[in-house]
């Protein structure tokens, strides 16, 4: 595991499969997971300071684009990952729910920062104490605000989830149960 890498090539590792000269065979789950996890298109739902940190993340120094997230989408129809960055007020919660519901499956949610994960330091009448009260969340990134490297770590966890997801998960009874728990169809 700790061998010195002499070539300077950054390529994605192939999934486990059967390889012979001329062909490579693997399962559809793994191939689709590989394609999906290296081309996640985020929907930046940025409301506060974490949004500024996200701007730093997308800029050249930390560059989220090298993970495949080069193309941001402000329309939920074309986005894979909903990144909620910032304080979500109780007035904003129905808007967040609507945006989440209008995303096409498969979809994932990353909650960036303390305010989105749990309300942060704003334990008050107007702030929603955590977006997981209204939508299901896959990865939480703590911090106030989290450094771009922490968010990249969160994105890599999302990549791990995306790469290992079964193709039928969105039609499974557990998923439907979870959706019903949140009040979605």
């Amino acid at each position: 595991m700790s061998e010195v890498i002499t070539e300077k090539a950054t390529i994605v590792e192939a999934p486990a499969g059967y390889q012979q000269p001329g062909f490579f065979a693997t399962s559809l789950d793994k191939a689709v997971g590989l394609a999906r996890k290296n081309s996640i298109w985020p929907l930046p739902f940025a409301t506060s300071c974490c949004g500024i940190e996200f701007m730093a993340l997308m800029a050249s120094h930390y560059d989220l684009g090298r993970f495949g997230a080069e193309r941001l989408s402000f329309s939920p129809r074309q986005a894979d990952l909903l990144m909620v960055m910032g304080t979500i007020a109780k007035k904003m919660a129905p808007v967040l729910r609507q945006v989440y519901q209008q995303m096409a499956e498969p979809r994932w949610v990353l909650s960036m920062g303390a305010c989105a994960s749990s309300g942060g330091i704003f334990d008050t009448y107007s702030v929603l104490q955590g977006i997981d009260r209204v939508i299901p969340v896959d990865v939480y990134v703590p911090g106030c605000p989290p450094r771009p490297e922490q968010v990249i770590d969160g994105i890599m966890q999302i990549q791990k989830l995306v790469g290992s997801e079964s193709l039928r998960r969105r039609h499974s009874p557990e998923y439907k149960e979870m959706m019903k728990k949140y009040g979605f169809e």
């Binding site: 808007v95 609507q98 945006v99 209008q102 499956e105 193709l167 969105r170 169809e185």
Partner: protein, 131 residues
């Protein structure tokens, strides 16, 4: 069939020479249809009522998305199409001008006269009056 080879750009060959074009068109159209059918039948989807609504940045949509627009744009466009088609009909006449002779000229004149009647009607009705 004797074909003179002076001043002719296109030598009349048999109709079978057009088969490759037909195959190209069929493959292009067939590919589109096939891919759309495959995605609609084999692709996974989960339709819900909220997902199908128009996207309005997360808020409830109010009212119709159709806005009223001036009919004059549509009229200009549709009249252009009509008269453009008339001009297109004049192209084969131009190519075979010599053989069609006087009779062809009179027939085309009648054709254009019909269009002129229509044009006179349009002008009288003020369809092209831009306010």
């Amino acid at each position: 069939m004797f074909v003179s080879n002076q001043n002719y750009f296109f030598m009349h060959n048999n109709i079978l020479d057009f088969i490759p074009i037909v195959i190209t068109l069929a493959v292009a159209a067939g590919f589109v249809v096939l891919v759309m059918l495959v995605t609609h039948w084999l692709g996974p989807n989960r339709k819900t009522h909220v997902k199908g609504e128009s996207f309005e940045c997360g808020i409830e949509q109010k009212g119709n998305a159709r806005i009223p627009f001036s009919i004059k744009y549509f009229l200009v466009a549709i009249l252009f199409v009509l008269f453009d088609v008339e001009v297109i009909f004049m192209y084969p006449w131009a190519v075979n001008f010599k053989e069609l002779g006087m009779l062809g000229f009179m027939e085309m004149g009648l054709f254009i006269a019909f269009f002129l009647v229509g044009f006179y009607y349009i002008m009288k009705k003020g369809a092209l009056k831009w306010e």
